[in-house]
Assembly symmetry: C2
Homo-oligomer: 622 residues x 2
Amino acid sequence: MSLTDLLFGRPLRSSEEGGERLGPSAGISVFGLDALSSAAYGPEAALTLLIPLGAAGIAYLIPITGSIIILLAIVYFSYRQTIEAYPTGGGSYTVASKNLGAFPGLLAAAALMIDYVLTAAVGISAGVGALVSAVPSLQPHTLLMCLVILLLMTILNLRGVRETGAVFIFPTYLFVGSLLITLALGLVKSLAAGGHPVPVIAPPTLHLPTAALGAWLLLKAFSSGCTAMTGVEAVSNGVRAFREPAVKSAQRTLTAVIAILIVLLAGIAFLVRAYHIGATNPGEAGYQSVLSQLIAAVAGKGAFYYITIGSILLVLALSANTAFADFPRLCRAVAEDGYLPHGFASLGRRLVYSQGVYILAALCAVLLILFGGITDRLIPLYAVGAFLAFTLSQAGMVAHWRRKGGTRSRRSMFINGVGSLATAATVIVVTIAKFADGAWVTTLLIPAMVIVMISVRRHYDHVEGEISNPIPLDLTNLRAPLVVVPILDWNKIAQKALRFALNLSAEVQALHILCEKDAGDFCKTWNRFVKEPAERAGLAVPHLVVLKSPYRFVISPIVDYVLELERNNPDRQIAVLIPELVERRWSHYFLHNQRAEWLRALLLLKGNQQIIVIVVPWHLTA
Amino acid sequence: MSLTDLLFGRPLRSSEEGGERLGPSAGISVFGLDALSSAAYGPEAALTLLIPLGAAGIAYLIPITGSIIILLAIVYFSYRQTIEAYPTGGGSYTVASKNLGAFPGLLAAAALMIDYVLTAAVGISAGVGALVSAVPSLQPHTLLMCLVILLLMTILNLRGVRETGAVFIFPTYLFVGSLLITLALGLVKSLAAGGHPVPVIAPPTLHLPTAALGAWLLLKAFSSGCTAMTGVEAVSNGVRAFREPAVKSAQRTLTAVIAILIVLLAGIAFLVRAYHIGATNPGEAGYQSVLSQLIAAVAGKGAFYYITIGSILLVLALSANTAFADFPRLCRAVAEDGYLPHGFASLGRRLVYSQGVYILAALCAVLLILFGGITDRLIPLYAVGAFLAFTLSQAGMVAHWRRKGGTRSRRSMFINGVGSLATAATVIVVTIAKFADGAWVTTLLIPAMVIVMISVRRHYDHVEGEISNPIPLDLTNLRAPLVVVPILDWNKIAQKALRFALNLSAEVQALHILCEKDAGDFCKTWNRFVKEPAERAGLAVPHLVVLKSPYRFVISPIVDYVLELERNNPDRQIAVLIPELVERRWSHYFLHNQRAEWLRALLLLKGNQQIIVIVVPWHLTA
């Protein structure tokens, strides 16, 4: 068993793809983790902005969560329809490009790609950050731990989607289960106490109000709360990864994810108000997350508290995996349309779009290294991309239904139309509210990426036009090439090259580069070892050309000579035969000059359609 | 003018070598800087070990310096003779290997190489260290400054030996001149005061004795003082760099360097005693170098003090340059005997042995980075290598004179015999005295390097035996090869490759790798575009082979097929024709898969003497 097999598993046949597919339960842990984990930070993000309102601010979480749930429901119906309409997957990109045109599609793709890279980096650093606050002695190794987790996640995802699902199921259900128990317990206690339950452990008292209520403040709180909606896109991108009936499986997964997310958001909003829990400032002493306060208030700080908090941290870290599951699929869809390098569309040895995984891992590593493993400042960049993608996806569905026609379509069109307006309004609100915090980066990055993708496509179109050949093989003017053989010395390598050259053509030129002064010596050798035997055998005698090289360069005189030969023989092909010593051991690399490699590379780069390079290897036995 | 020309100067013709040579005055600054600068740390190193003896210890510097001067004189006569006997340069390595055999030669070479790398790293970091103690705010940039100086020094040395000499002359003479003035002034004052001069600024009072005199202590002090002798080897290595008459020029340079060094050492020893100057502990507060105390005592802390101290620091930093001048020459000599890769023996564009410069710069950078730019701890590793080289060189000269015979030779043999015994004794003393401080590293590294060099030579000998061909060109059994053309799709690239294949041989096989299921499609295309036209033209029809690839690999099925074809046709050459798309812009690299490159590399690596690789490039116009 090779190391590769051990790390990544044996290669899978194309025909084994069916076995690699997921059911809804594993689907939730692969594609739903990102969406579900946002329940842990969305409400908190909104409450943090309400801090200046003091105790009065808490009440506003309910209308804000309400709006978010409505948006979520609209987006849910939209994506449910998308999955049915586009069973090969692709999400916003596919829907927007098929219905609205290439440009909106690329906008959606760019927005989502940025989001996924951010998700991966932020998820990993959030998990490590939580571990570090539990075990402060690990703090100096933050970046190293982030990179190790990134590496493990990359390897896991290269092993294939099924293995990933199997690993992630347990933490996902632990997270959902323990949070639901908390919410149910809290609800029962609240109802029993007539809406005013007594907390087991009282949350910190709230600050006095420092600001008056304003529309701008509420808008910013809503914008921040919207991060709770990121990751909803993932399932519709991954329909192809589900077991047959894939559409039904994917829809069930989406329904389950959204339903759980709505219950979590609603429950949190209700209990936060019932227990008077507000956000605390992350920078200040005594900081405690909203969920931590909530669980402690409902159930106290026993084993249950620690299990729940642990599962939240684990799921936050693992939410990075949604990006790994989805980013490569998105890239594949874009690459199949020619807007990204073809490599993104080829299945790797484990039926994974490996190149996408590599790129995501690389970009994520860059972010982690740039920010030293602490990526909190990236969170504001999130929501813009997600909502831009939602908007374009739903606008695309509107165009889809309009084209389809019929009563049912009209109703669907209405839902998607409302949805796209709502999410478009949200994009504007979120962009404005977060512009100074970093959303400006996203607004610059998205068009830049679109330009790159368009130029990739242009290049491919150009190449396609240049090489396409709709006519049969041209068999006129077949003629043996002029062969040039650079020879530095008379030895077996030179003999092998010359013999091969004589096999190919009657017109062979041997090229000798002279750095020192002894011109006569090589000519003597040549006459004795080559010219005379060839004459005796009655063969066409190879022509010896001796070039002086006053600057001791060896490669460039050869290249110059070949280019001149080509100019003087515009109707001939010039085959340059390069004898190359092949080392069996890497350690021998430095013992021989790499002139053959350089010469080959330079001839290909500086050459043209007439010049062909022939490598005649000499294999060392030692 | 290209960037390369601007940085490194225009290329020099081989015939311009004469103009690049040095006279004695520039020779001192290129090859003597290392030796001369050791006057700045040798006496200090000895005095530091005498600190425990208190004021009584200072007196012992005179016998220690006396022994060092005697050693120096012996080594001088030896190298003077060596220069005459070996006018092509090479120093210890050449002398030892020509007279004592390859193994002692390699021992000397390894010892010197280690010394030069250490000299370069320690010199640069000493210079930067001095600058940092003058301008403490630069301290965080220590490593960066070291690397920048290393880079500048590398570029300067790649520009050629003459330019280096020109740049270094001024600081060298400033250093020598100001130190000689100090010594002369001190001597006059001492004599005028009857041996007890009054210092202008009194040196710090000395500690009371904390240890009694012992032989071991004196031995250690002597060993440390011996660092004053490093760098003496350089001139004899560089004879080739001198202007004709080269031997005379080199001898004059050596005489000047040694004479100045002896005067400096003797003068320092005398004045240190006259002014009661002892070393201070570098780690402790109030540290002041011996030379600084001496200059202040003789001349006060005026402008002269600062000029002299400045020139000392500059020369220490520039002494690294001796390594750059000599290491490449040493490597050249070893490479010409086949013990190092041939590349070390080829002259670069500016008539410098560029590869040696690169390697020295790289090793030096590694040391600087490993030690963060503070390489004090490397100083103990120095002297072992230098004295081992001295010993082997003189032992070699003994053998040389014995072979030559005659009265004059007998006298020379006696001098060198005494010298080699004295330096051999010093090697043993230095190794034992400094073993725990780091000399053990040198004693491990030297044999390891010798083993590597011997195995390099063995490899070359083996290759030479394998490829040498003392017989004329064999012209029997010339036969066109079997040609294999991998074709993924029918386009102009495939057409060009097929046309070239038909030029070469009547036996052409086209290889199509099938990853998806549609086997029939390509066969149809093939029949229509290739088979039928070839049949109509009455040509041998290329044979189509379709290989299925269930794991979606493209390259390995081709390689496997070619290897099998080779096994089935043991008497034929197999030419694999690889169509390759050549991108003109680097940014297009990622847009096309690099399969052609991989296939070529794998075929060369896994292939054998029968397999030839032909690259048919397709040049994109965009």
